[in-house]
Assembly symmetry: C2
Homo-oligomer: 332 residues x 2
């Protein structure tokens, strides 16, 4: 493909806006750009390279003449409109969870399994934010020595929930600081100055869907690997950037020094690991860097093949919009 016609579905959401921004930042070869959203956003505009793009209402005719559609408007919208788009020859890159575990749909993190992109039948799924940063960090280890076990606890920012959650954290923080009555709309409990061990809905096995995504998506991205994964997902009062405390057991031994050397030359990874100078990945650093940041690398004290680390990334960008645009770049 040369220059392409691109549609962004859910263009006014937190991820959708990042998608448009990243298309511009990376000079994606766009011929025509169509920004789609639900009725309530009609009339809004987004500026790209100083050109105004009016938000258009998503309907069955939105995909005529489109080459690539980036979807980020939730599972329901994807389930309804992605098949309509693919029937018109559009390649859909879907950021919702609608098709991620569909065996006919590749689930792609370019740094990890770009070679699976070509298996698509019109739809390519973008993994969940907390999965993307973990698999990018673990891929060099997986390739080098194999991985048997992952135990991960997340510290996820509110921007993963959306714009209204950012507003809620901001408003509630103000209310707590000023001893005002608390208002609550988005989360089931106060998020300001609190921790919620609850992201997405609970499944029958006692885990949340967010936790199960870390299990299933990771194994699918690593080629139906059989890694034993245990996840706990928590929402923290942070605006941007997901942090993860990750413990792994490798199949064969790898030293921390060797691992650091590998990370230093791995594209897409930024090693931030200088504890003598209090340098380690911080959630707020994700507002500056697009790379997956890794630090606090240390050998387990009891398990010869155990390694602990701290992983931080921008959940809206590499965790969603940037990964989707990178997939689109592989297509053209």
């Amino acid at each position: 493909m040369g220059k392409v016609n691109v549609a962004v579905v859910g263009a006014t959401g937190a991820v959708g806006r990042e998608m448009v921004k990243i298309l511009e930042e990376r000079s994606f070869p766009i011929n025509d750009l169509i920004l789609l959203a639900s009725t309530k956003s009609i009339g809004e505009s987004i500026f790209l390279k100083k050109k105004e793009y009016k938000i258009q209402e998503l309907d069955e005719n939105s995909f005529d003449n489109i080459d690539i559609a980036l979807f980020s408007a939730g599972s329901k919208v994807s389930k309804k409109f992605a098949p309509i788009a693919t029937k018109k020859g559009v390649i859909v890159i879907d950021n919702s969870s609608a098709f991620r575990m569909d065996s006919k749909v590749p689930l792609i993190v370019p740094e990890v399994n770009y070679q699976d992109i070509k298996k698509h039948n019109g739809i390519i799924a973008n993994p969940n934010c907390s999965t993307i940063q973990m698999v990018v960090a673990l891929k060099p280890i997986f390739d080098e020595v194999g991985i048997n076990r992952i135990i991960v606890s997340t510290y996820q920012s509110v921007s993963g929930t959306g714009k209204e959650a950012i507003d809620e954290l901001s408003l509630q923080s103000h209310q707590v600081l000023n001893n005002e009555k608390l208002t609550r709309k988005v989360y089931p409990h106060q998020i300001a100055f609190n921790i919620l061990p609850h992201i997405d809905v609970f499944e029958d096995n006692g885990y949340t869907k967010e936790e199960m995504k870390l299990v299933h998506e990771t194994n699918k991205i690593f080629g139906n690997s059989k890694i034993k994964i245990t996840a706990t997902a928590a929402r923290v009062p942070v605006f941007h950037g997901h942090s993860e405390s990750v413990y792994i057991e490798t199949k064969k031994h790898i030293s921390i020094n060797k691992l650091k050397k590998i990370y230093l030359k791995t594209k897409g990874i930024k090693l931030v690991d200088d504890i003598d100078n209090s340098k380690y990945p911080l959630a707020i650093m994700s507002e500056i860097y697009d790379e997956i940041m890794i630090g606090r690398l240390r050998k387990d004290l009891f398990e010869p093949n155990g390694i602990s680390m701290w992983i931080v990334a921008n959940n809206l960008r590499k965790g969603a919009a940037l990964n989707a645009v990178q997939i689109a770049e592989f297509l053209i």
Copy 2:
């Protein structure tokens, strides 16, 4: 002992103030109460049962006629003044890390190992906050089926650092919300709306002292057990209450249902585990409940003896001051 003479060393600190409050709440049988602090607090008063207690300067004569001294003024003060106090026949309950790993000093969480109190030689150590809540939660499992492995990631509030850290989180949050320039005194990085994977100083093995306390203190409290423990300690923008994501592997199998039944009848533990109604322990609940709160109990999907849980407690009260007063209650 009947009514006793009690000294609180570090009475104006975050934990010291809680100690005084808890002595009152629990109607501890006090004859005389001496509140001690460093020079900079002289002139301040604390009111207890409407009686005014002036803060006195800590010196070598502070412990004359004292029966029990509760220390919470840091390791340096404990190392200097605890031996002076014990020479005068005072029993010292020390909240610092000065003597915790001393083999002649019992390290006590009454719910777990009250029987070790009698082994003291004048000093009894109070464990670190993050250890206390974990061992109380794990004790019933340890007794019932044994524990081989613990992997814990913490979400620790700023009150664990002290009063000035509470002020810093409050001020920085205000500054971020109002787009003002950030000021920083206590932590090496911004704590407002951020996560710091760094508590206490780093040791040569790459772990922080806070993480190593979870390893060493837990095994000492469980009677020199050989549990393999991996810890990651993180500071979160929360005022009060430490949360912990804990994964364990037991020696023998125990069902989640059986474990819940045990927790329901265990004193000092509050089971908050009703995911259908979004009920699980929250950091802010620690401002209401003194119990160790446990929830998100679930069986591992891969390890037959693996269990995950979420543990929350008030780090200043059960995590420090309350535990110390409970030890004092066992003494009298």
